[in-house]
Symmetry: C2
Subunit: 250 residues, 2 copies
C-alpha cells in the first residue's frame, strides 16, 4: 500500500521530508525540500500539502514551510523522552547550579548519542551539543557511557565500522576503545578530555531504569579542558541516583 515505484513506503517519504528540517534550516521552500529529500517536485508538493493539512507542517504567506507545532505536540505528549526529561530536569538544574558549565542528557538512538536536554551557563565554555542533536558514541563522554552499556551486538557493530575523529584526540582504535569501555562499566563513569573538541572535557555517568535495571540514558557535564573533574563525577552520580528514584516513582 502507498508504495512508490521505487518501493519506499509513504511513511518513509514523509520521514524524508521531515528530515530535511534541522536547527539551521527551520524554514524551507518546497523546491528546497524536494531537492534535499531527493523527491520529484510534484511528490514533495503533495506530501507537504498533506502534512500541512494535518498540521505537521505549517506554511507562511510566501509559501515557505516549517515544522508544525502539532508535530511537536504529537511527538512529545506520549514520549519516553518527555518522561525522562521531566524526571531529570530538577536534578540537572541542581548539577548546573553548582558546576555552572553545560549539563546534558543523552539516549542511544540509531547507533548514536541523541541529546534530549541541555542546560548551559551563559558564560560556560565551548560545547557543540544541541538539543535533538547527535554525537558519535565513541567520541562523546555521554556516548561512551551509552556504548559501554549497550548490547554486545550493538557495541561490536559500532566498533567494527570506520570510527570518525571529531578532534585530533578522538580515540578511533577499536581495541583501545574496548578496554576503555570495560573500565567505564567497572568504574561507573567516564572522563573524556578533548575527544569532541580539544578545548573541553566531557564527564558522564549512566542513568538506569530502576536501580539495577538497564542503562537508559547518560548524564554528562562539559567542562573547560583543564578543569578539575572529581567534583563533577560526584555531582553526576548523586543526580543520576535522584533521576533513577524519580523514574521509579508512580
Amino acid at each position: 500500500m502507498a508504495n512508490s515505484p521505487s518501493g519506499d513506503s509513504m511513511t518513509a517519504r514523509i520521514v524524508r521530508v521531515l528530515e530535511t528540517f534541522d536547527a539551521d534550516r527551520t524554514v524551507q521552500t518546497i523546491a528546497d525540500i524536494a531537492r534535499r529529500a531527493a523527491l520529484p517536485s510534484s511528490t514533495a508538493q503533495r506530501i507537504v500539502a498533506e502534512l500541512a493539512a494535518s498540521g505537521l507542517l505549517e506554511r507562511d504567506e510566501d509559501g515557505r514551510v516549517r515544522l508544525g507545532m502539532r508535530l511537536w505536540e504529537l511527538a512529545l505528549r506520549g514520549s519516553l523522552a518527555l518522561r525522562l526529561r521531566q524526571a531529570a530536569l530538577p536534578f540537572m538544574e541542581g548539577v548546573q547550579a553548582r558546576v555552572r558549565e553545560h549539563t546534558q542528557l543523552a539516549v542511544l538512538e540509531q547507533d548514536e548519542a541523541l541529546f534530549i536536554e541541555r542546560l548551559s551557563h551563559p558564560l560556560a565554555g565551548a560545547n557543540i551539543t544541541r538539543i535533538a542533536g547527535r554525537l558519535p558514541l565513541h567520541a562523546s563522554s555521554a556516548g561512551l557511557v551509552l556504548l559501554a552499556h549497550a548490547s554486545p551486538a550493538l557495541r561490536e557493530r559500532v566498533l567494527s565500522q570506520r570510527l570518525r575523529a571529531l578532534s585530533a584526540e578522538t580515540q578511533t582504535d577499536a581495541a583501545v576503545l574496548r578496554t576503555q569501555l570495560e573500565r567505564v562499566r567497572r568504574e561507573g563513569f567516564v572522563i573524556a578530555p578533548g575527544t569532541v573538541e580539544t578545548v573541553s572535557t566531557g564527564v558522564a555517568v549512566p542513568v538506569r531504569e530502576g536501580r539495577r535495571g538497564p542503562v537508559i540514558a547518560a548524564l554528562a557535564v562539559v567542562l573547560p579542558r583543564d578543569a578539575p573533574t572529581a567534583g563533577a563525577v560526584d555531582e553526576l552520580r548523586r543526580a543520576a541516583a535522584g533521576i533513577e528514584s524519580a523514574l521509579a516513582a508512580p
Copy 2:
C-alpha cells in the same frame, strides 16, 4: 495518492495513529491503537509496521508499541518550539527561582493554548497543566493573553462557540470576555483567579517576536488562589522582555 476508500490521506491516518498516544497512554497494543484510531486492525498493523520501520514508533518484545525517539528528534530539531523554549528557559528559571510555584510558556495551536514548557517547585500548589498539554483559550491565563492578541477572525471564531467551564468561575459569557480581552491588550497582562481550578490564580503576559512584533507566546505563573500577584506581574514582564531580546539575537 495513498488515499483509503473513506478518502482520508495516508498522512491523516498516520496522524490518527500518533494521536492515540498521550501522557497516560505511552505504551499500547496494536489492538488498542486500532480501536482508538478507528482503523481496521489490518490497516493499523500495516501503519504501525511502516512507522516502526522508520523509527517513528518502537515495539518491545511483547509487541507493545510506543512513540520512537526518532519522532521526537524529527519534531524538535528544526522546530519553532525548540527555539522559543531555548530562548525562554533561562528567563523562566529566573522567574521560577523567585516565584517558586509554576512557571509556564504557551503558544496558540488549533484554537487552544498549547504548553511548551513548565517548571514547577516541588512544594508548589495545584496545577493541571502538562508540557505538550492544552487548555482552552478563554479559561487559562496564558490562553487569555493569546486570545487577546490573536487575529480578530480567530478571536470571534473562539468566542462564538460554546465556551466550556473548567471551574465554577470560568468566564463563559462572550460579551464579558470581549471586555476582559480588551483590558488585557491595554494593560499588557492578565490575572485570572479560579478560572482553571478554584484553588489557583493564573497570571500571564505576552511574549513578542521583536519588541513591537506579533505576540508569539504567553508566559504565565500559577499561584495559590490568594497569593499576592503584583510581584509576579513584574517578574513576568521582565522575563518576557529578556526572552524577546534573546529571540532577536542572531
